[in-house]
């Protein structure tokens, strides 16, 4: 790989664009293809398959062997609600490799003091999503308990194919949420993707324990699903 290829690859990764590098195993020459940019015709299919599976491996093309490495954007957690659980989750997420952003229009909750060192956007989610757009590599965690704040980002996350959409609230709270989302015109199979009550069922009680349950559920969604296309279970 030459330095220009390495720099272009790192720039794509920093810009949250998926990328594939084809390395000729004979010569070591590397070719970079970035999602959404032109890629030589003979590699288009291999690149699409690699982005879908996220799996690196060796391919043979025109009698030559290439190692194909896949670089998917680092997963991001977008938390709606600057609440106690979010404070705990904001501490844990970086250590497991997730970027994390907290959004809450309630400025009493969204204070720099409560979220030191955390990316915090004290705006309505509709506005925050213009700065931090949702994508397939984003997990949405809605924990305000307030339909005025939670519902729209949940709808947007389902539309954007976020690999995880979780919402805080009891079964009863969720049942009324489902009714509201139906009235917004969401299909039942989309609504069924919402994880609610949020978090793996480990009997979590404290905010920090609930944060662990949420983070574990996010990791499960990330590792057991086809992240590019969302719907297919891997196992």
């Amino acid at each position: 790989m030459d330095i220009a290829t390495l720099q272009a690859l790192n720039a794509a990764r920093a810009g949250r664009r998926a990328a594939v590098v084809f390395t000729d195993l004979e010569t070591g020459q590397g070719h970079l293809c970035v999602e959404g940019e032109r890629c030589p015709d003979e590699w288009v299919d291999a690149m699409a398959a690699a982005l879908r599976s996220g799996k690196a491996g060796i391919i043979v093309a025109a009698g030559r062997s290439f190692f194909l490495n896949v670089y998917l954007p680092p997963p991001r957690i977008l938390v709606v609600g600057a609440v106690h659980i979010s404070q705990a989750l904001a501490r844990m997420a970086p250590s497991t490799g997730f970027d994390l952003t907290v959004v809450d229009p309630r400025t009493a909750f969204a204070t720099a003091e409560r979220f030191a060192g955390v990316e915090l956007i004290a705006e309505w989610p509709e506005d925050a999503l213009k700065v931090r757009p949702l994508d397939r590599f984003t997990a949405l965690v809605a924990v305000t308990h307030d339909p005025k704040i939670d519902d729209e980002p949940i709808r947007a996350a389902l539309a954007a194919g976020c690999f995880y959409v979780g919402a805080l609230g009891s079964r009863k709270t969720h049942a009324s949420r489902v009714e509201r989302l139906r009235r917004l015109g969401l299909a039942d199979d989309a609504i069924a993707r919402i994880k609610a009550p949020i978090g793996l069922d480990i009997g979590a009680a404290s905010p920090a324990e609930i944060a662990v349950a949420i983070l574990a559920e996010i990791i499960e969604a990330l590792r057991r699903r086809d992240i590019m296309y969302g719907s297919e279970e891997r196992r």
């Binding site: 790989m1 330095i3 390495l6 720099q7 195993l25 070591g28 690196a56 491996g57 190692f67």
Partner: protein, 110 residues
């Protein structure tokens, strides 16, 4: 303002090292069989002084990869290394987990 480099990101480290004028090799796991500690695509980066970041195994074969990298930095010729219990180097290095891996080592060229 330049953001600090995440030392857990080998490719970012490689770019930073090249920027400092260091010679840099990248080792990448290209195939695995059996229970391999790091998945295909994992990187280890090595400079001319033997400094390294990242991993291609759980620490079992990094030493051997680093010493091979010194050669590759000199010649510029990429090489594929294979490690496993059946390897003739098994007594020195090998994967205690019983798997086998192939590692591509290449120099970052100008």
């Amino acid at each position: 303002m330049q953001a600090s480099i995440d030392i857990l990101d080998p490719l970012a480290v490689a770019e930073a090292w090249v920027g400092e004028g260091r010679r840099v090799a990248i080792a990448t796991v290209i195939e695995t069989w059996g229970s391999a500690p790091r998945p295909v695509g994992s990187h280890l980066v090595i400079d001319g002084a033997g400094n390294f970041e990242g991993s291609v195994s759980g620490g079992c074969v990094e030493g051997a990869v680093i010493s091979e990298a010194a050669d590759i930095l000199d010649t510029g010729k990429p090489r594929i290394l294979e490690f496993g219990v059946a390897d003739e180097t098994a007594w020195r290095v090998g994967l205690s987990c019983g798997g086998r891996i192939r590692v591509l080592v290449e120099r970052i060229g100008g």
